[in-house]
């Protein structure tokens, strides 16, 4: 398994996501409504020495990917870490239509003619043929289209999907996901979870290795099930050759100061941190504080 970047620049700050305050989320959403403001922050991050970006396949990601593709020579050294899918798109579609019509919509309505023909050929039978694996592969392809041509290092499955399937305890889906990401995208499979110790145990039990596991990781145990002690223990006994661990929500949505947060993180057996910030000072300070 290739080694992942130890600092990755996240995207929550750009899309009005703040787990602590809806007001703050709203303010950020307004600020970054103009995509040029997003590019400016990326440039600050790259100038601060960051060489990796995690970007969710939300409705604005396409435009961002286009920008970086068009300026590829300038950004040739940047590694990309897509996270898929954009959960709210599916949540709303499913609420409106039901699960199967929603999947059908995503696969056959939201795509250009070229893409649809290819997908129909491959998966025409999947929709009718009840093959979850093929269906999953088709959905991955839909989500991954926007990242084409970028240096994709790892592909992450969002926690709502990972944890749902983890609860179902279906080994085959995890196995096939990982294989597909490795073979089709030549990338490291990644799983985002809010249940890191449990997922790690299950993957070991199923002998699914060479995976990046990304989870909330902060000293107050926010969004960490079952608790912070279990996370520390799981990380301490983990072999990074099998599973690289990536921490997100390190500041617990701002409940912990950066200094305190990274004093804790730097002492954990973690291989990578993904963080988001929008000011030059915050970005520079964070990069300096992370010494994993």
């Amino acid at each position: 398994m290739g080694k992942i970047d130890n600092i990755i620049f996240g995207d929550n700050q750009f899309f009005g996501i703040n787990h602590m305050s809806q007001e703050k989320a709203q303010q950020l959403s307004e600020k970054f409504f103009d995509t040029n403001n997003i590019y400016k922050v990326y440039d600050i991050a790259f100038d601060s020495g960051i060489k990796a970006v995690m970007l969710n396949s939300n409705d604005r990601a396409k435009e961002i990917c286009n920008h970086f593709r068009e300026n590829k020579s300038k950004y040739s050294s940047i590694n990309w870490y897509p996270s898929i899918p954009y959960p709210h798109k599916y949540a709303n579609l499913v609420a409106e239509k039901g699960i199967l019509p929603a999947i059908n919509d995503v696969l056959f309505k939201d795509n250009s003619a070229m893409g649809v023909i290819g997908m129909m050929a491959k998966g025409g039978s999947a929709v009718l043929g009840k093959d979850a694996i093929k269906l999953m592969q088709m959905l991955i392809d839909v989500e991954m289209k926007i990242y084409k041509g970028l240096n994709v290092k790892a592909v992450f499955l969002q926690n709502i999907v990972t944890d749902l399937i983890l609860g179902f305890e279906i080994k085959e889906i995890f196995f096939e996901y990982c294989e597909y990401i490795k073979k089709k995208y030549n990338a490291i499979p990644g799983l985002i979870t809010q249940n890191m110790p449990h997922l790690l145990n299950k993957l070991k039990e199923w002998d699914i290795k060479e995976v990046v596991i990304c989870s909330s990781y902060n000293k107050i145990g926010y969004l960490m099930s079952p608790d912070v002690v279990s996370y520390s223990e799981a990380a301490a006994s983990n072999n990074p050759e099998d599973y690289q661990l990536m921490a997100m929500s390190t500041l617990a949505s701002g409940a912990i100061t950066a200094k305190e947060a990274y004093e804790f993180i730097n002492n954990q057996n973690i291989q990578s941190v993904v963080f988001g910030a929008s000011s030059k000072n915050h970005i520079a300070e964070t990069v300096k504080l992370i010494t994993i």
Binding site: I17, V94, G98, I99, E169
Partner: protein
Amino acid sequence: MNTKLYINHCFMSNKIKLSIVGFGRMGLTHYSIINSRPDVEIESIVDTSPIVLTMMNKYLPIKTYKDYNELFETSKPDAILVCTPPNLHYDIIEKAFRSGIHVFAEKPFTTKYEEAIRLKNLFDSSELVNQVGYVNRFNDVFVKTKELLDDGVIGKVIRFKSEMFSCTITKSDDASGWRASRESGGGAIFEMASHAIDLVNYLIGKPDKVVGSSVSQIYSKAVEDAMSTTLLYKCGTSGTIYINWSDPSYRKPTNKIEIFGDKGRILADQHSIKIFANKADIEHNLREGWNTLYITDIFKPVPFYVRGNEFTRQLYHFVDCIQDRSLNNQCTFEDGANVHEMIDKIFSDYEINGKF
């Protein structure tokens, strides 16, 4: 349940055999969550879709039924989770009662107040655990808000405003599926306002009178997309509810309540509680003026997380209540029926007073 009691149950009692009736979005979510309880064994699922059943048969070690009658005729689970379209709830729950099965029903509980009352009365006459899926009652912020209100932190409640917004329905579509008709339990009042109404019932109490109700259609053809109403109490308290599920300015569903009392004011949403205390309150660690409790200050982690702590806590509570009958259920069929009483009053107020 405390840890010791929980472990005792895992070793001493047989596993609770469970069936999930209706395997759409909520059925899937509940399966994933409750499958993490060591004292629960999911035996079967019921769904009308052959694609869903074939797929689940392929990957899960469970029985599948395409008709719930078949489930009740051929097996007897200890408990069921009812996640079908709401218009089917009554028949399923009534049959479950006849078989002596504990029931967790998704919201809205039924589509008619009379049916809700009948089910409440049936289960009240038995020892069977009955719960409705008003998940806000298990949300860290709203549980804390309830605690603060019950402790009298803002004194007597005088006014409140409960609001919910989302971008669930943002384009016109052909009116199909159960969500497109009120008879089958669709529409923003059954699906969304029911949460806001239950939150008011839970935090402040059931209102005595409904006035000034209005409903709006924005994109939907046969059901409403927005609703507002005013709720009055004999004690003098009053408040409003406003919900809108066709507002694209909200990236994800938002739920907030503002409560004004004679000793202060509380603003709560899924992320935080802001408390304005007219005077410092040492017991609750509140200074005079504004205080903020963030979700990071008040959250309690759950053993397994799928879709928010409250979803796990809600189902674990259902199982806890089956394991330990001395526990009081936090969201019973009576609570579900109370929501329908208010929904009926809102529709009727709008029909009588709101139309030209």
